[in-house]
């Protein structure tokens, strides 16, 4: 029997996390170097490292540093946060619902964010202040969570199956409202803006966005990592088994939902809807290092960050100076790769 092991773990988890960290650092340098003005990778590395304490490099033009520090780096870092945040919440929701198809979309939160964002775009509110769009998207996300949670609760109990179904239903409902709003828009310009927001993108995002997005995403991410053991229990055998091992299941579920919505809301608010990262990245990481969330969550964050930095790099360079929608790129790369993994050696891997 020993010889029939399924090779579902390819790498030791710690080594894989180190590899992903290096990969992410590499992607950050690569993406920061590339653009209308090409800056050598070594120079980019120096400029970035120079910001660390006790490091002192020199030998570049002021303009190069400005391009990197004020234009490219914040956008790249936002891509890390958004990709990482979507991936880690995808992993969380897949364990919470014990469902491999769960992703940040299933609890309706991202549709709620999108609807609120489109309302603020279509009504012209978003023009008054650059923070109005992300802020309304964030409110839309949390409001939807509240609505879905209330729908799925009865007499103080919340059924996760009902929550999943009402989340999907509310998501579809919000999507229809959104289409309805789109049909009422007469200006091509506004329509195009909304379309691009819906397809996801990081065009024009800078430090001011990053400074706000970083808090909910990093705090949510860190907090989720402290629930790794709980996620292991929930994923392995669900509510009964977890309660039998000593978990306050209802409390933990509620905390996980709020933390996930916080991260998803913030990510969607600043990037629009970016599909597939939250679904696919945890699966790929699980294939590599197994389902233990003590490693899976951090590894998903790092891998999701790398994927989105890479996708954003393609989005802004392929047809430069025009931009492609970020969401289409993640899907166009993600789907074939995912299908390849699913069918590798004809084995069922999930």
């Amino acid at each position: 029997m020993e010889t029939t092991h399924k090779r579902t773990r390819v790498f030791p988890p710690r080594a894989f996390i180190l590899f992903l960290t290096a990969l992410l650092a590499g992607f950050i340098v690569l993406a920061t170097a590339k653009g209308a003005v090409q800056i050598p990778h070594a120079l980019v590395t120096k400029i970035l490292l120079n910001r660390l304490p006790l490091v002192d490099f020199s030998g570049w033009e002021k303009a190069q540093e400005v391009i990197i520090m004020t234009i490219r780096l914040p956008r790249v870092l936002l891509a890390v946060l958004v990709g990482g945040g979507l991936a880690i919440t995808g992993a969380t929701l897949q364990a919470l619902f014990r469902n491999p198809m769960a992703d940040p979309g299933v609890i309706g939160v991202s549709s709620g964010a999108a609807l609120a964002a489109v309302i603020s775009l279509a009504s012209g509110m978003s023009l008054r202040h650059y923070m109005i769009l992300p802020f309304s998207a964030f409110l839309g996300a949390l409001g939807t969570l509240f609505l879905v949670y209330t729908l799925a609760s009865r007499q103080g109990r919340t059924s996760m199956a009902t929550l999943l179904l009402s989340g999907i239903a509310i998501g579809i409902f919000m999507g229809s409202l959104l289409s309805l709003i789109l049909t009422r828009i007469s200006s091509i310009e506004a329509f195009r803006e909304i379309f691009f927001w819906l397809m996801g993108g990081l065009d024009g995002r800078g430090w001011s966005h990053l400074k706000i997005a970083i808090w909910p995403i990093l705090i949510g991410t860190l907090a989720l990592i402290f629930f790794s053991r709980d996620l292991n229990l929930l994923m392995l055998e669900g509510e009964d088994g977890a309660a039998a091992l000593g978990m306050e299941v209802r409390t933990v579920q509620r905390i996980l939902l709020v933390l996930s919505s916080l991260v998803i809301g913030a990510a969607v608010s600043f990037s629009g809807t970016v599909p597939f990262v939250g679904l696919i990245v945890p699966h790929i990481v699980r294939l590599m290092i197994g389902p233990d969330h003590r490693y899976l969550l951090l590894a998903s964050f790092l891998a999701g960050g790398s994927l989105l930095v890479g996708a954003d790099l393609m989005a802004r360079t392929i047809v430069a100076p025009e931009e492609l929608p970020l969401g289409t790129i993640t899907s166009l790369i993600g789907v074939p790769f995912f299908l390849y993994l699913l069918n590798r050696d004809g084995k069922q891997v999930i």
Binding site: H5, R229, N232, D240, A244, G246
Partner: protein, 264 residues
């Protein structure tokens, strides 16, 4: 002795239907109790109430003389371990990871497993003879192997009282005996085990005491000889059965003969 669970007039309803009616039950240390009764008699519900997964609508449950509501789930899980029926496993955790999950109730959120936890996990796996499975995936084990790994996890939980829901269901006779021998050896080490079980002969072979549940009520609670009478089997299961003492085991065994008019 203070150790044990006491149920006082416990009733439980679901969707307005009574599932358990005025259950009085006392469990003290060192017993192996078989919980028997037809499908839907309320066996699983009774075990879940004792694990605080549902709360009694009426009556009270005391664990070591203290009301159940005074325990956090974590504190409870250090005293009582519960193995649900027919868990479905689809996640590819290794057996060692699964056994380690038994330590959940002993670990703080910000704490890692200590060397002490590792020792407990290792001993639990040795005791259940699952050490060689430690790097195998739980999803690829046979039913018997899986049940032994889950028993290892239950042991790693370190509880003095163990509740098992149909631990021998879906196991072949070899694995059934193996598992029940293991359970018997635990009771000899002064743990207390209460298990729901359908096989009456196995129940009589291993349990010191049987609790017969029917339509949410305890019909009879006592030695296998007192519980497994042809009359009880007729009124509860609606079967005519022969009950005899087996010459080799010295314990009762039950042979169902034919169906009887129900409820007689």
């Amino acid at each position: 002795m203070n150790e044990g669970i006491t149920l006082k007039k416990v009733s439980f309803f679901r969707n307005g239907q009574p599932v358990l009616k005025e259950i009085d039950l006392q469990i003290t240390g060192g017993e192996l109790i078989g919980l028997i009764g037809p499908n839907g008699a309320g066996k699983s519900t009774l075990l879940k109430l004792m694990m605080n997964m549902w709360k009694p609508i009426e009556g009270s449950i005391l664990l070591n003389q203290q009301g159940m509501q005074e325990y956090s789930q974590k504190m409870l899980a250090r005293q009582v371990a519960y193995l649900p029926q027919n868990s479905v496993f689809e996640s590819a955790f290794t057996c060692k990871e699964v056994v380690k999950m038994g330590r959940y109730a002993h670990l703080d959120r910000f704490e890692r497993e200590s060397a002490g936890d590792e020792v407990i996990v290792r001993e639990a796996m040795e005791q259940t003879e699952t050490t060689h499975l430690r790097n195998r995936l739980i999803t690829e084990l046979s039913g018997g192997e899986r049940q032994r790994v889950l028993m290892a996890r239950t042991l790693a939980q370190g509880a003095r009282l163990i509740l098992l829901d149909e631990p021998t269901a879906n196991l072949d006779p070899h694995y059934q005996l193996e598992l029940l021998n293991l359970i018997e050896s635990l009771v000899e080490k002064s743990l207390t085990v209460m298990m729901a079980i359908h096989d009456l002969s196995l129940a009589a072979r291993y349990a010191h005491r049987l609790v017969l549940l029917h339509q949410g009520k305890i019909i009879v609670d006592g030695s296998p000889e007192a519980v497994l009478t042809p009359d009880h089997l007729r009124s509860v299961y609606g079967i005519e059965a022969e009950v005899a003492c087996h010459p080799k085991t010295g314990r009762l065994f039950v042979v169902p003969i034919k169906l009887e008019a129900c409820g007689g």
